[in-house]
Symmetry: C2
Subunit: 201 residues, 2 copies
């Protein structure tokens, strides 16, 4: 019985299909489910189905939403003149956690990556352009990653929306706050030097 | 919207209740579920319910089983005179992976740990004693861990079953195969010295 019994094997495969979960972890999780009460497992299964059935995409920015618009787009107190373009919902959540950003978002759903067959038409770029075109937008912050795909995507978007006369910006790169210089890689340090600011005293 | 919308929050909590899954991983997994097709999510939910409903405990050794007995206990080719006592099903699977062990098992369901309020009565010890008592058992290998709880449990079980005249053994401790001496801790090295074997040449 080196093979798992079928119901367990099926559950292990389900867990293993999740990102970052290997075979050992998948087995550990599946065995943990076996140890749960039937009521707990029903709750878990219910939560899975519920999330898929009751969570949708914001019609404007593609953030997750319960209704037509997400909580950010539905909040009249946010600055509609500022759009922060992110790769995915997790990046959006990171910005929200700062509690400092008061503008709106636009979730691309990834980056341009010709090698993986992901051209710009697979991302929510057209409707970002439409949002800018419809007016009222002052600045677009492109917060895609600093890897090749992220930079390529940022460049592509910048070229598409600059003609509409909006300011287009990228995040600042530099030393993480609280981090020791010793641990900064050469590229980060170079960017930190390039972006140095004069001390006002 | 620093708070997650409710259906997502519920799913994050479900994932977070699994062993070894923190808040960040739970969020990552929940968002991955959002990205799955509805069909895939239904499969996942089905696998969860299925494992709980169709997997049970072997009536003899408490391994996981589809029927009355597990695949090991139901295999007539195994040596019924040898029982390997393990803490949990994962340990049993590790032994099965060696493809060398041909005896049966007994899954305790944990270790004795007075501090956590786990006395011997919470483990499947009584029916291990009953198996030994009913005869036909030659040797019991107690493969609980080498931590205090594991050693205490091994000692407790040894005292319970020795009166029936069976051989009781523990696994050998020593240097892991392929590992450098440099990385062996003092305790392991001491055990390896104690357990040294004469070279036959």
């Amino acid at each position: 019985m080196t093979e798992l019994i079928l119901p367990l094997q099926r559950l292990v495969e389900q867990f293993r299909s999740l990102p970052g979960i290997g075979s050992k972890t998948a087995l550990r999780l599946a065995l943990a489910v076996l140890d749960m009460s039937e009521e707990r497992v029903e709750e878990f299964a219910g939560a899975l189905l519920d999330v898929k059935r009751n969570v949708r995409e914001c019609a404007r920015c593609h953030n997750i939403a319960e209704g037509e618009l997400c909580a950010v787009c539905g909040d009249e107190g946010r600055d509609a003149g500022l759009i922060c373009v992110v790769e995915d919902v997790r990046s959006l959540m990171s910005f929200e956690r700062t509690r400092e950003y008061k503008g709106l978002y636009h979730v691309l759903g990834g980056t341009i990556s010709p090698l993986d067959g992901r051209g710009p038409e697979k991302l929510h770029i057209d409707d970002l352009v439409a949002r800018v075109e419809s007016g009222g937008v002052r600045e677009v912050i492109i917060a895609t990653g600093s890897d090749v795909e992220g930079e390529t995507t940022a460049m592509y978007i910048a070229r598409k929306i600059k003609p509409y006369g909006v300011k287009v910006s990228r995040l600042a790169y530099g030393i993480p706050v609280g981090s020791d210089l010793e641990y900064a890689d050469a590229q980060t340090l170079t960017r930190a030097l390039e972006g140095r600011r004069e001390v006002e005293a």
